[in-house]
Amino acid sequence: MARARGSRRRLLVGGVLALLVLLVLAALASIVVGARWIPLAHVWSAVVAPTGGHDDVVVRSLRVPRTGLGVVVGVALGVAGAVIQGHTRNPLADPGLLGVSAGAAFAVCLAVYAFDIPSGTGSVAFALGGALVASVVVFALGTLGGGGGTPVTLALAGAAVTAFLGALTNALVLSDARTLDAYRFWAVGSLVGRPDAVLVQILPFLVAGLLLAAVNAPALNTLQLGEDVARGLGQRLGPARVLGVASVTLLTGAAVSATGPIAFVGLVVPHVARAITGPDHRWLIPYSGLLGALLLVVSDVAGRLIAVPAELPVGLVLALVGAPVFIALVRRRTLAAL
Amino acid sequence: MTAAARLHARGVTLGYGEHVVVDRLELAVPDGAVTAVIGPNGCGKSTLLRALGRLLRPRGGEVLLDGKRIDELPTREVARALGLLPQSPTAPEGITVADLVTRGRHPHQAWFRQWSRGDESVVAEAMEWTGLHGLADRPVDALSGGQRQRVWIAMALAQDTDLLLLDEPTTHLDLAHAVEVLDLVDRLHSRGRTVVMVLHDLNLAARYADHLVAMKDGRVLAAGPPREVLTPELLAEIFGLRAVVLPDPVSRGVLVVPVGARRSDARDRGPRNPTT
């Protein structure tokens, strides 16, 4: 028995390493591929000994930042998805569907409209704040009602908050052309067109969110048994929930404020991860993060290849891919399970 | 003893998805009698009832009503002959007792004829029968479990069918309410209706059924009057239960008394260690 456990652990560790390798490959692809393919040798020289040539500029100021953003945001969304699915015990929960994007969107517009802060650098803090408020409201609505956090009530709570904030956003956006312009480019969910420093700005929040998720993992395992059993085992529910919500909000809020709303990563990735790791959150969370990064970077590359020479924003690619997977999940489940 | 039977299951195979629950089952429901279907969990009792009630299409075999395939008959016609009460019926929030019972008239109504004199008298009578005096305007969700069950039965009564199928009508009720509901079912059948019900409690089934059908693994293992079906051998085979069958001191039927692992030795009369 111990032998089986040991070999399983070795397998999982091996899996992590394999994913890391794949991620590196994907990142390289992301730097190489585009409207103009840049050979690897040039990439190396651009990074190590830049000469200011055209390729170097493309690599340093476009490709590397977008790849970095893709990796970091992918990790954030994957982990956030695993945590929120663990807390709500709801396999159809997705941080993006829960109003977080609408909260960030409204805050970003408010920043441009009321405070003249250009969308991007200065508005990250706003976006985070908006995301926080929205997610707390949705979570509260979805779980306080008589339905008790069923998939349907959470989805609808998310839709309600999204629509309400959408109306407020519309009010701002229609009153001011500048706000509309800033908003429409942000709202599409993309790794490009973002200010350079944005990755650095969100990094502290992401790291904090990841730490909280890591700390929350053992509690998540206990919570899978149901609230009553978990209490009986001595798990303190309140602190565990708060930790979880904080983690999800930090991760998703930071991600959304940097790239705009990207749905479906947080939804689909934990399912794939769970198929490999089983329900142990101490493995599920890292795997979700790595798979999320992989999915996002690959989707970004795909977006550059599908509609050559134009580029499809990554948010659109993921929606087109993610929704069918979500719908397939809904169809597969019998009513009793949900 | 071949009683007339309007409702038949002939070689019926039923399942959900890949899973086969009932396999080539034969059943004739005797007219004018109360038939109880018993069996261990998962043996297919509810599935069979749903098929008899035309809620589930058989994969193989057929269900016949008056000699015709039930899924080929017009839906309304079936609804006028056969009423089914599902296991956990849901009432719309806030509906009153009178309104819910009136819904049972649906198969007899048209969109412009929603409350004829006939409807009114049948509904009033159904409510009389089920003892719903004074509750007509109360919301159904404000009633107790037993009362609610009676309201659903009143609705099935208002449907005015000769055949009545009840899926576990007593499962969530305490003993007093369960007996109340079954006494009502008994009165119905004394007026000539045919009743088929799925029951969990063997002794209630023994008391109230004229005809008992025992199922296991999707097949009928025994069918007949309760005293013939409820034998220790059969109980062991179907339920894996060791039991003693006694004459029922109240009715002229039988009583099933389970033999457990402890506290069943005649010498061991009281608690071993006197506790508080």
Binding site: A155, L156, A163, A167, A187, A263 | A98, F112, R117
Partner: protein
Amino acid sequence: MSAPPILARRALRVGPASAVWRPRAVLVPVALVAVVLLLVALDVGRGDFPISVPDVVGTLLGGGTQVDRYIVLQVRLPRSLTGALVGVAFGMAGALTQSVARNPLASPDLLGISYGAAAAAVATLVLGGGAVGGLFTALGVPLAALLGGLVSAAAIYALAWRQGISGFRLVLVGVAVAAVLSSVTSYLLIVGDLNRAAQAQIWLVGSLNGRDWAQVLPVGLVVGAAALLCPVTSASLRALRLGEDTARSLGVRLQRAQAGHLAAAVALASVAVAAAGPVPFVALIAPQIAVRLLRSAGPPLLAGGLVGAVLVVGADVVSRSVLPSTLPVGVVTAAVGAPYLMFLLARGTRASDA
């Protein structure tokens, strides 16, 4: 028997026809019609050229000055009528969807139908030229919106169908499709230039600006047909509300009834979106308000529609008189509707099937 009768209900019987006499079911709709008429009169009077309510009524009845007649009959009345009819259409569509899904939180806008119409309309506004764009432009925004709504509704129905429709699957699939279409719409907004994006954004919010008799006609026709069919539909809805098993055992042909009601809901919602854009929340909350007014067991069809009309025209009056800058009607309905929905969720509605 001197005991009180077990069932004290009055009946309304004329020849073979009969119905239960429910005072509220008659009085409330009549009152609502009166309110709608009043609001329309108010709405017609608003604008750069204020006209008082008595003058409006006078003009409608044949009198009034040349100028008044022009403004009222050519400019303002069609706008307000569009608002009222769109409100009725959305209210009825919501009542139908909520009854079939047996979930008070289900509505065409949340179920992605409006998003489909929106995506098609935005595509038309934004993709001016080119092969694909040319196709859309040929249709024009209203027709494109109608088709978009119908196609997305058909897709949702097909995707949620698995040996039948369950309200639960319908809602979840609808939310997913809504997310995809919303993403597509966002993408379309960056494809065009800022001007077109602004036009599209305005349409997306739901607006009555510039609506004339051309919009009134299609909505009026569909709403009129739906209103005529109300008594038939209501009888079927009453049985459907009891749950799928019970409804079937009462003789309802379930698939056919559900498909029919949903098709009607889609037609109503699509034609309304084509006329005024996806005005948010009317379809969701109008039926719920009507339930509480009528004290009925499920969302009522006619009353739901009338409450919808009150909401839309009322929102228009509010947005044109109370607010500092004129905002499209959709902003007001969402600002009012979403908190109400959140209140419903927090209160914990006892949805029977989810």
